[in-house]
């Protein structure tokens, strides 16, 4: 599903954020990406959805090489990737329903498909009853559910989550993890999640990729978090 070959990334300011990354993630896998801040975790994640371009190397997502992808082709690969952020990135003036529908409207899906599909994913994340509310009327956990619903509404093959529980209390975080589990198990969506949440990584065991100094220092199936916070 995702494959990196000798990926190297040097920013304009001289920082080397990826120093020869080689990794392969299969369809349907659930992967944690861990590591200290500033170790290249974010760059690793961002290169997967072509927010950053590698300086050299190859990155394949669903068979497309993102390293050589032309700018105007980026929108089409993005439709295969759902992205979830720590700060939710919801539009405050739109209702829950409209926020999720937005992702389908901008790729010009037909109106009746949008209606059915949005109802379906809101049901999946457990927010069907709150679809007419504004994001500000929701708790942090609920807002994150909306953003997860938005990320999967276009049926992406991969969901990339950058610290999705970073702003949430532990109780709520477990709930969010259940949503990710459902997406992974029920829909078969590949999930790549960068996280600092030690408890989650240690309790819900999945493959763990640890990044330090722009290198993958550890890659274990059913791994542990391995860092003391």
């Amino acid at each position: 599903m995702i494959k990196m070959k000798d990926v190297y990334k040097k920013y304009a300011n001289g920082v080397v954020a990826a120093n020869g990354l080689n990794v392969s993630i299969s369809p349907g896998e659930f992967v944690y990406v861990v590591g200290p801040s500033g170790a290249g975790k974010s760059t690793f994640i961002k290169m997967m959805y072509r927010e950053e371009k590698p300086t050299s190397g190859e990155i394949y997502v669903d068979g497309t090489n993102l390293a050589t992808l032309k700018n105007r082709e980026v929108p089409y690969i993005r439709r295969k990737i759902g992205v979830v952020f720590q700060d939710f990135k919801l539009l405050p003036k739109l209702t829950v329903f409209e926020n999720v529908a937005f992702a389908m409207e901008v790729i010009e899906a037909p109106a009746d498909t949008i209606r059915d599909r949005v109802t379906e994913v809101l049901d999946l994340v457990g927010l069907k009853s709150k679809s007419r509310m504004l994001p500000t009327e929701l708790s942090g956990g609920e807002q994150q559910r909306v953003s997860i619903a938005r990320s999967i509404v276009n049926r992406p093959k991969v969901v990339i989550a950058d610290e999705p529980t970073g702003n949430l209390d532990p109780e709520t975080s477990w709930g969010i993890m259940n949503v990710f589990r459902d997406i992974n198990e029920q829909l078969g969506t590949t999930i790549v999640m960068a996280t600092h949440n030690k408890d989650i990584v240690n309790r819900i065991r999945h493959r763990v990729i640890a990044i330090e100094g722009g290198l993958i220092v550890r890659d274990e199936a059913e791994g542990a978090y391995g860092y003391e916070i």
Binding site: N71, Y76, R78, R79, K89, V106, N154
Partner: protein
């Protein structure tokens, strides 16, 4: 891929919404376009009329070729043929000595009737150049012919007129260009503010895979609306202003050598120019900021 109707409707809605959302900036940009186009309109109206007047004057520019007193009928005829065949000559009219004197008596009074006893004047040809700006050159050529005594064409004055007209045209053009750039800059600034205000929204659009044109079109539309809104007042002002001016000036110029342009089709041309420039600066202004701030 053809754009869906619902998508188009969405783009229109979005572009109108952000006109309202950035109310004051929109107002500033539209005002800038208005002022610019008002000046452009007045300039275009003046310029086109000056061109018309210049044309009228130019076509009135002619040279007078005096024939040597010694020339007999045959050599005068030969000179006429020679002048007619000179490149750049459009028209040659022969005037006898008596006709010349009659003209002079008409111009300067009955006193000159005395000369009817012994006419001191020369025969002359009135020559018009096909391109009035080439008058001086043609005059120099004719001056070389045998039996030409002298060529007179208001030397100096004609050149000054042409210089003045050319200068006026260029100065107007430079001023108009400077104003256009100002208006474009203001439009692109307004759109930049729209883009910055909607950064999150645009970021999400791009994340979920909105195509570049989908992201771009509302901003370009917004620019176009500002251009069109800015062209309304100038178009009305120029149309009504010119109609009033025409009603005033036209009867007073009747029978004169100089005429101003009739409202049709002239005003349609001006309307077209103003509208087109409005749309054009709108598009260009939006493209400048879209390219710079959207990175699509």
């Amino acid at each position: 891929m053809a754009m869906k109707f619902s998508t188009l409707r969405r783009h229109f809605r979005e572009s109108f919404k952000s006109l309202g959302r950035n109310g004051w900036m929109t107002f500033a940009s539209v005002s800038a376009v208005t002022v610019t186009l008002l000046l452009v309109g007045v300039f275009v109206a003046i310029m086109l009329n000056l061109n018309k007047i210049a044309d009228d004057l130019e076509h009135d520019v002619e040279m007078k070729v005096y024939v040597e007193l010694a020339a007999d009928e045959a050599s005068t005829k030969a000179l006429e043929d020679q002048i007619s065949e000179t490149p750049g000559v459009a028209e040659v009219i022969y005037s006898t000595r008596d006709q010349e004197l009659d003209q002079m008596i008409r111009d300067f009074g009955e006193d000159l009737k005395l000369y009817e006893q012994s006419n001191p004047l020369r025969e002359a040809f009135y020559v018009k150049a096909s391109d009035p700006q080439q008058t001086a050159k043609v005059a120099r050529t004719i001056d070389e012919y045998p039996n030409t005594y002298e060529v007179v064409y208001g030397e100096g004055k004609v050149e000054k007129l042409f210089d003045f007209l050319n200068f006026g045209r260029n100065a107007g053009l430079v001023l108009i260009l400077a104003l256009l750039f100002t208006a474009m800059f203001l439009i692109s600034n307004t759109i930049r503010i729209t883009i910055v205000a909607r950064k999150t929204e645009i970021g999400i659009m791009k994340l979920v895979g909105a195509s570049n044109s989908f992201v771009r079109i509302p901003f370009v539309l917004e620019g176009i609306w500002m251009g069109i809104l800015g062209s309304i007042i100038p178009i009305l002002a120029v149309v009504f202003g010119y109609l009033k001016f025409y009603d005033y000036a036209e009867p007073r110029l009747r029978g004169e050598m100089i005429q101003i342009l009739a409202p049709t089709p002239f005003l349609y041309v001006v309307i077209g120019i103003l509208f087109f420039i409005g749309v054009f600066i709108g598009i260009w202004g939006s493209f400048m900021s879209v390219r710079k701030f959207l990175k699509v």
